[in-house]
């Protein structure tokens, strides 16, 4: 006769699940990340279709509102304003750079040689599910050359950084995510700064001393330091600059140029190079 072991009570499973997950949260485990991205890549075809269906429904609702023409004109004008603002910020930044060159800094002249990024064009197939984090899911992964920590841009502005990859899918951490940081510089004053995302859905400049000349309306662009992001990419515009509570630093809020809800495609930069004649994979 086989020995019969007493069965554990039913309530053990829920308690174990909660304890196990609490342990995962406390330890910040990373070994499950490949499994996570594997699941995302499995569901990415379905995800892509649901996303397109959602976009189609949204577009249909917009059309049916009876203000289609006006909305379209308005959208075009807003896009055009955004484009012109970006172009203006970029041009101002370039002009400031040239003035620096004229002062005879040979080393600086070398640093301003054109960087030609090689990139992979990717389509957005979904957003991250957590409310307090900012991320998107794209349809390109290691199979197309996308790797973790590669910068993600669109047009002439910064979108974010590749956080996780698997197969033909990647998770991109946007610049508004509380754990994303980009090295930036004011277009007007050329003051350097660190732009970081916050849990309140915006961006701010980190540890900016009161004496540093950054004002409301200043465009913030990437510096190109560390070779991660290309130079002169627009990050956003300063919308408020106030004296901090401590008095040493200023509280500077930046409105990012990137708008997650408008993103349909992005460019993942594989590497930066000063060589000429590079081709961008499409």
């Amino acid at each position: 006769m086989r020995p019969r072991f007493p069965r554990p009570p039913k309530r053990v499973l829920p308690i174990l699940l909660v304890l196990l997950t609490f342990f995962l949260v406390l330890r910040h485990v990373t070994f499950l990340e490949p499994v996570k991205m594997f699941v995302v890549s499995i569901f990415s075809p379905v995800q892509s279709r649901v996303y397109r269906a959602g976009t189609a429904v949204k577009n249909f609702a917009t059309d049916a509102s009876g203000r289609h023409k006006l909305a379209e004109q308005n959208r075009r004008l807003l896009d055009r304003i955004d484009e012109l603002e970006s172009a203006l910020a970029g041009e101002r930044d370039k002009r400031a750079s040239r003035e620096e060159q004229l002062r005879g800094l040979r080393a600086f002249l070398h640093a301003h040689q054109d960087e030609r990024p090689e990139g992979v064009l990717a389509h957005v197939i979904g957003w991250g599910s957590a409310n307090w984090r900012s991320s998107i899911i794209i349809d390109k992964g290691p199979a197309q050359g996308v790797q973790e920590n590669q910068p993600v841009v669109w047009h002439d502005y910064v979108v974010g950084v590749v956080a996780k990859t698997e197969g033909t899918t990647s998770l991109v951490k946007l610049i508004t995510d509380p754990q994303c940081r980009v090295m930036g510089r004011s277009v007007r004053s050329q003051e350097k700064c660190i732009v970081e995302g916050t849990a309140d859905g915006r961006c701010r400049l980190k540890h900016v001393f009161d004496s540093i000349d950054i004002k409301k309306g200043d465009g913030i662009v990437t510096t190109g330091e560390h070779g991660i992001f290309p130079r002169h990419m627009l990050v956003g515009t300063v919308v408020s600059s106030e004296q901090g509570e401590v008095g040493l630093f200023r509280n500077i809020v930046v409105r990012p140029r990137m708008s997650p809800s408008k993103l349909e495609s992005v460019l993942v930069i594989e590497r930066l190079s000063s060589r000429t004649g590079h081709r961008t994979k499409r």
């Binding site: 039913k10 309530r11 499973l13 829920p14 699940l17 909660v18 997950t21 609490f22 995962l24 949260v25 910040h28 485990v29 990373t30 499950l32 990340e33 996570k36 699941v39 995302v40 569901f43 379905v46 995800q47 649901v50 996303y51 269906a53 959602g54 976009t55 429904v57 949204k58 979904g126 957003w127 991250g128 599910s129 957590a130 409310n131 307090w132 984090r133 900012s134 991320s135 899911i137 956080a163 996780k164 998770l171 951490k173 508004t176 995510d177 509380p178 754990q179 970081e196 995302g197 916050t198 849990a199 309140d200 859905g201 915006r202 701010r204 980190k206 509280n251 809020v253 997650p260 809800s261």
Partner: protein, 168 residues
């Protein structure tokens, strides 16, 4: 409870959360239908079934987001445990009671998530006023559709094998 059907519904909810709901966002905050789903399961079953269902739903959310893996699984399983207990003290089929439970659940989930974010290394927070405003958006956007969604989900009760039988 029929777990395979629950799993199918969890995948569907995760797909909707990552594909359709961002169109309804307000200041980046979206309705949390995962929480509404967990509340629905919790209202019609005991903690023994509600906690694993909440855990699975949270895991699906964790898979589709950056950040601490397991945070949503922990929060939603805890939320399921609290909800399945709290339902015994309210008239659970009344829309007002459901609304109150959703608001409490949304406050609990978002509060816990912010707490975990605070404990995570290198997290930036921004202005407390704006965070409070976003918290209000998150709770309101989740609470508003909850009574309608719970009525719609009630149709699926027999399909999911929910019998209102308390197992604990």
């Amino acid at each position: 409870m029929r777990w395979i059907r629950v799993f199918i519904l969890i995948v569907l909810v995760a797909m909707i959360e990552t594909s359709l709901l961002p169109h309804l966002s307000l200041d980046g905050m979206r309705p949390d239908i995962a929480l509404i789903f967990v509340l629905f399961i919790s209202l019609h079953t005991g903690p023994i079934d509600a906690v694993p269902a909440g855990w699975m739903m949270g895991l699906a959310k964790d898979i589709y987001s950056v950040g601490t893996f397991g945070a949503n699984a922990f929060i939603l399983s805890l939320c399921a445990a609290c909800m399945s207990r709290a339902k015994d003290y309210v008239y659970k089929d009344h829309p007002l009671a459901q609304l109150v439970l959703v608001i409490m659940g949304a406050l609990l989930c978002n509060g816990l998530y912010l707490g975990i974010l605070l404990l995570s290394p290198q997290s930036a927070f921004g202005s407390p006023e704006h965070i409070a405003l976003r918290l209000l958006y998150a709770v309101t956007l989740t609470a508003l559709p909850a009574p309608f969604l719970l009525v719609m989900l009630r149709v699926l009760k027999p399909w999911l094998g929910l019998t209102d039988k308390i197992t604990l």
